[in-house]
């Protein structure tokens, strides 16, 4: 094998291993941060700062009874948790972590990301459907409606960035932010994209498919053991994904003052967004289902369209028609 291939393999393994190690670590981070913002300590007993809680949780999940309800559709029931992890991991293919550190710099990067994150909705729908349980079904129906309606303007909000940089490739988009991060000209786009991203990962305040207080656990009510664990890993991977994509599209990716290496800049910015996700969970209540739909279709969609039209107009003017 030549050096380029080995390098490529190293990147693939590194990204995969890094993500799968960080995703369970986020459980610890989330619990500690939530505790911090609620004046508590959170898990602080097992190991330094309670870090070993991750290990304990994983072991517990492995030893729990992995029960498949007899009334469920076994094949789909088993398949559903896998889908969310696979699609999210697939999306990471196009995320540029640093110059050259990208699994595949597809020239349709953003579209690829969109496609995969849409496929993630199948995990919710199939999981809820195969559980054959009314709460699960309600959760998955809500999830499907939510993801479809928020995906519409998620795509549209990213188009502003595409217009400015003239490319669908994430690598090129980051390069195009050398002068100014896109968060400044595309602030509206950033806000709408981020809101859509929260809805896409069905995190609080948009955790309507799960909604503990209304639907037990929504689409994964019937899941236990490691299948449930995989849903969770998928959710945390989704948080990382939305954070990385936000950083790459709007916050200049790896760009930053040169006293830190590019990869560190990228990780720092991503970490900031992950913390913001958790802050959102700590502070905001869940909207009602119809309110969620209303925000999506009546407020955010027109806003993104407006943003898109204005951006396109400005780009055209700058070219001097």
């Amino acid at each position: 094998m030549d050096d380029a291939t080995i390098n490529q393999l190293l990147i693939i393994v590194g990204v995969l291993a890094g993500l799968l190690i960080v995703a369970p670590g986020l459980i610890w981070l989330e619990r500690r941060l939530l505790a911090l913002w609620q004046d508590r300590y959170g898990p602080n007993r097992a190991g330094p700062f309670g870090l070993l809680i991750v290990l304990a949780d994983t072991l517990k999940l492995f030893f729990k009874e992995d029960w498949t309800p007899p009334f469920s559709d076994r094949f789909v029931f088993t398949l559903a948790p896998g889908i969310v992890v696979v699609t999210v991991l697939m999306s990471f293919i196009v995320v540029p972590f640093a110059p050259g550190v990208i699994v595949a710099d597809l020239n349709i990067g953003i579209l690829f990301f969109m496609a995969n994150s849409s496929l993630g909705a199948y995990s919710i729908i199939l999981g809820g459907w195969a559980s054959n349980n009314k709460y699960s079904l309600l959760g998955s129906m809500r999830g499907a409606a939510q993801m479809i309606s928020y995906e519409v303007f998620m795509g549209l909000s990213m188009m502003g960035v595409v217009l400015l940089s003239g490319s669908f490739s994430m690598h090129t988009i980051v390069e195009a932010q050398k002068g100014m991060w896109f968060v400044i000209p595309q602030f509206l786009g950033f806000v709408t994209f981020f809101i859509a991203g929260i809805a896409e990962t069905h995190r609080l305040p948009f955790d309507i498919p799960e909604a503990e207080s209304e639907l037990i656990a929504g689409f994964h009510s019937e899941y236990s053991g490691m299948k449930f664990g995989i849903f969770f890993v998928g959710e945390y991977l989704g948080i990382i994904l939305i954070s990385t994509v936000t950083v790459a599209l709007y916050f200049g990716g790896w760009l930053g003052p040169s006293f830190l290496p590019p990869l560190v800049w990228f990780i720092l910015k991503t970490f900031g967004f992950i913390c913001f996700f958790i802050l959102l969970r700590a502070s905001l209540p869940r909207p009602r289902y119809d309110q969620l739909m209303e925000y999506g279709w009546k407020i955010l969609l027109p806003l993104t369209l407006l943003n898109l039209v204005v951006t396109a107009g400005v780009v055209l003017l700058n070219r001097g028609i």
Binding site: A35, L36, Y41, S283, L284
Partner: protein, 171 residues
């Protein structure tokens, strides 16, 4: 919209607040003296058992976790032959303490009674009886009651007048 940002900011500021958690096994809360915890049987200042075996605590107990058998010693003093509290049933309501006419049964601020074996939660008199007066120092039931026992005849209690001979005509 503004309120959402405001609540985000206010929650963020909680980062710099003091944490409210009490790190329990290392750090203990101070419990008020009236806290209803473990049940004890107390003694009067002369180290005699206060319990007179009247069964009022057992009757008051809503979960029937108290069982005892009263008996009498050679002085005519009543005391429980055995006194058993099943703490796996006890709900720490404190009714027994309220019912007790002699302040014998008391609930104290202690709750660390965990056991691996449920049977160990059944406390016998040897575990319940403490060598002290508990919350009522100085109170001695037999010293204020009109009952005659060995060593204390009729009319010898505190604030008690000698008995009147009803058959005598002398005023």
């Amino acid at each position: 919209m503004f309120s959402i940002l405001q609540s985000l900011w206010l929650v963020f500021l909680h980062m710099f607040h003091k944490r409210e958690t009490v790190q329990y096994p290392e750090q203990k809360n101070k419990l008020p003296t009236r806290w209803r915890g473990r049940i004890v049987l107390t003694r009067d200042p002369d180290m005699g058992e206060r319990c007179v075996g009247c069964y009022l605590c057992a009757a008051a107990c809503p979960v029937d976790c108290i069982s005892l058998q009263a008996t009498e010693d050679e002085n005519g003093r009543r005391y429980p032959e055995f006194f058993r509290i099943n703490f796996s049933r006890c709900i720490f309501c404190g009714y027994c303490e309220e019912a007790c006419p002699t302040y014998a049964i008391q609930l104290i601020p202690d709750f660390e009674m965990g056991e691996y074996n449920r049977q160990n939660l059944v406390y016998e008199k040897s575990e319940l009886l403490i060598d002290g007066p508990g919350k009522y120092p100085g109170y001695n039931y037999y010293k204020v009651a009109g009952l005659a026992i060995g060593g204390k005849g009729k009319g010898e209690a505190e604030n008690e007048a000698p008995p009147i001979d009803v058959k005598s005509l002398i005023p």
